[in-house]
């Protein structure tokens, strides 16, 4: 376990190797990326098994007073800033923190990254920047794994920014397209706004605790070194960063645009891994959020719920397949945040994984559809199950899983969230969560039926099933989306369910609230049946439903005017303000303060230089007059 830091290192080395030597290697060096991530995935199993074998006597391991989990922390000195022992000096560490949360997310990231990279081999075939794609993918995997393993906030922040830049590069991968460039910039800038909060939060914790170490920070919160006000502010600031990365309202606008990137990128970064970094951060820093009556968690819960609800309604009316999935991702990230806000760390992590597998699967399925039909609008598809049966089946598994149909992974994780919300938050939360879950089933059903069911369009008759390199990863993810829920049960034997593996302070066994289960099953089934009736059998007229809700529909179809409002703010506030600053810079700083003294000197020089005529007689005359004057002076003195 001490060597767990090697997991990201493989991928870190793969990236520059591919860039530098890729063109001399077979498949442009893409295999290096895959080998690196396979080693990372193997590393996950090693870490998992050695964590299971470890106890408090193992080196570096202890039972955390904060989380009550067996935590292993291996710290190494990075460098000293300032003179050691003097005020203001700080020793920076890099190190790894391994606890069940780390392990769970490690497994998710390495597995999905591996699947997506294998899928990309076929999907990106023939792209002129094939090698570059895999290099950035490797760099992303390395950064994401560092983010997960980091034991201090500073290292986490470095990795946090690295995944941000990788996301930027991959969204803008086809930078010949202006829309891709714009989307990449938008994603980077919007998440940066949240990152400022994260950085300030980290520095605030450092000021209070004197170290960046997470374990120390949590101890400081528990022992009261960090006061209530500071802790709450720090938690909210950290959450700002999490909101940016996890696309929570009002920072969600970048994620739908991020779909400009290649579809496997959307699957990996914008569905399963990078966007969960925010959820991971809140779960990781949970002692800070939970301390002092958990005021910060209430904020998390409300933001999560609003995000889940708003994004779900937009997903219901979006027509672009990838955008439907993107809004669905935002909605489910909101559910994870809500779950954390309801003290449901287990539920959040479980849903993070179940959603990660299902959504990666859906995106890969969408990629497969786009690959063979070249269309992205759901209106252009329909009936595709006849030409691409495997994609249709796995996509449906993903959709049913996220929609919350029993036995599939998404049902169990959603159930955990509902239980957590029901236990710890008031009744309005559970009603809205159930409503969101129903919307989730409805839009998933809509996407599934619109794309794969109904009559096959003539333009799509040439469409064909994708090659094995693409279907195999989808099938593997499909198996997980189907059966991943199994890990949540308390099996006979030593395993007591996910709630006894990842938890916060209170280990709890699997339990199933009957009324919640029944209601959510009924809602999910009802929603899928409704979707079937609307989009396949057409027995419920879409037009009359639409006209009945015309007013709301217009708002929702315009995505609640978030982009318009932001554009207005940018045009009318930010740019006007920036222009006045620019004017100040030009007129005051540049023209007066910098050019001003230069001008004065120059004009003074011009005035002075007239006596330098360059003619000998002028100088002679001056000399003669001067000597005569001097002589006169001396003579007058003598007289």
């Amino acid at each position: 376990m001490e060597w767990a830091w090697l997991i990201p290192v493989f991928s870190f080395f793969a990236a520059p190797l591919i860039v530098l030597f890729g063109k001399y290697l077979p498949s442009k060096g893409a295999f290096l990326a895959i080998v690196a991530i396979v080693l990372g995935f193997a590393g996950f199993w090693v870490v998992l098994s050695s964590w299971l074998a470890a106890d408090t006597s193992s080196s570096g391991c202890f039972i955390s007073e904060n989380t009550h989990l067996l935590t292993c922390n291996y710290e190494r000195t990075w460098f000293n800033a300032g003179v050691l022992g003097e005020v203001g000096s700080v020793t920076l560490h890099w190190g790894i923190l391994v606890d069940p949360l780390t392990i769970a997310v490690l497994g998710l990231v390495t597995f999905v990254a591996l699947m997506v990279q294998i899928y990309s081999l076929a999907y990106m075939k023939g792209d002129p920047r094939f090698g570059w794609y895999f290099a950035i993918h490797s760099l992303f995997a390395a950064s994401m794994l560092t983010l997960i393993l980091a034991d201090n906030f500073l290292l986490l922040y470095v990795a946090w920014e690295l995944v941000g830049i990788c996301s930027y590069l991959l969204i803008g991968f086809w930078h010949e397209r202006p829309s891709a460039r714009e989307a990449a910039k938008k994603a980077f800038i919007v998440t940066r706004i949240g990152d400022v909060g994260l950085l300030i939060g980290i520095l605030l914790i450092w000021r209070e605790v004197g170290t960046f170490s997470m374990v120390d920070a949590f101890e400081a919160v528990r022992t009261g070194v960090m006061s209530e006000g500071v802790t709450t502010v720090a938690a909210i600031l950290l959450f700002l960063g999490a909101m940016g990365k996890s696309a929570q309202i009002p920072f969600h606008v970048w994620l739908p645009d991020a779909m400009e990137g290649p579809t496997p990128v959307s699957a990996l970064i914008h569905a399963a891994t990078m966007v969960i970094a925010g959820v991971y951060l809140v779960a990781r820093a949970f002692p800070i959020f939970e301390a002092y009556d958990a005021d910060a968690l209430m904020v998390v819960a409300i933001v999560g719920l609003v995000t889940a609800l708003v994004a779900a309604t937009i997903a219901l009316v979006a027509t672009d397949l990838k955008r439907i999935l993107a809004y669905s991702t935002i909605s489910h990230l909101g559910l994870m945040m809500l779950s954390l806000g309801a003290f449901g760390v287990t539920a959040a992590v479980f849903h993070m994984m179940a959603h990660g597998f299902s959504k990666a699967l859906l995106f890969l399925g969408a990629g497969s559809v786009l690959h063979s039909t070249e269309f992205q609008e759901t209106g252009e598809m329909g009936g595709l199950r006849k030409v691409m049966p495997i994609t249709a089946i796995v996509f449906s598994i993903g959709a049913l899983s996220l929609g919350g149909i029993p036995i599939l992974a998404g049902f169990w994780s959603k159930d955990e969230i509902l239980v957590a919300v029901n236990d710890n938050l008031n009744v309005s939360f559970i009603i809205l969560t159930l409503f969101t879950a129903m919307l989730s089933a409805l839009y998933m059903g809509r996407a599934m039926f619109l794309v794969f069911f109904g009559p096959l369009k003539e333009q799509n008759e040439h469409a064909h099933e994708s090659p094995l390199g693409m279907t195999l990863p989808m099938m593997l993810l499909g198996v997980l989306a189907l059966g991943f829920g199994l890990i949540s049960f308390n099996w006979p034997g030593s395993y007591g369910g996910l709630g006894t593996f990842v938890y916060f302070q209170h280990s709890h066994e699997f339990h199933f609230e009957i009324w919640i289960g029944v209601v959510s099953i009924l809602l999910a089934l009802g929603a899928f049946i409704a979707a079937h009736m609307i989009y396949v059998k057409r027995s419920i007229s879409l037009e009359t439903t639409r006209s009945r809700f015309a007013g709301i529909l217009r708002v929702v179809e315009n995505k609640y005017y978030f982009d318009e409002v932001y554009q207005w703010i940018i045009d009318r506030v930010v740019l006007v303000f920036s222009k006045s600053i620019a004017f100040f810079d030009r007129a005051i700083v540049n023209d007066i303060l910098v050019n001003g003294p230069a001008d004065v000197t120059r004009k003074f020089g011009i005035a002075l230089r007239v006596h330098v005529t360059g003619h000998v007689y002028t100088y002679t005359l001056a000399m003669a007059i001067g000597s005569a004057g001097l002589a006169l002076f001396v003579w007058l003195r003598m007289v």
Binding site: R609, V612, T613, G614, H615, V616, Y617, T620, L621, A624
Partner: protein
């Protein structure tokens, strides 16, 4: 013996003629000649003063002559240098008219 003031008058006249030459002439060669004239005016003044003040005890007897000889030596060197400069000047600009040589101007 002729009165000292006549020598001084001659010296002053020669000096002013030289000064006028330096200021009014345009040819560099003539200017150098005018400078020589001024130097010699000073020499006359010095030698006259020296011979008239012989035995007054105010100066050593040969002070005036000594300085005059120094001036002649320096003047010879100065002419050599000045003529060399003028030659270079002529090579470069094909003229020795000082009005046309104003590179030192701003």
């Amino acid at each position: 013996m002729v009165d000292l003031v006549w020598f001084q008058l001659l010296s002053a006249v020669l000096f002013v003629i030289g000064l006028y030459g330096v200021m009014a002439r345009r040819s560099a060669v003539l200017i150098v000649m005018s400078i020589e004239l001024m130097l010699n005016a000073v020499n006359i003044n010095l030698i006259a003063a020296a011979s008239h003040m012989e035995g007054t005890g105010k100066f050593t007897d040969f002070d005036g002559q000594l300085i005059a000889i120094f001036i002649i030596t320096v003047a010879a060197a100065e002419v050599g240098l000045a003529l060399a400069i003028i030659l270079r000047m002529f090579r470069n600009k094909s003229t020795v008219n000082v009005n046309e040589i104003n590179l030192m101007k701003w």
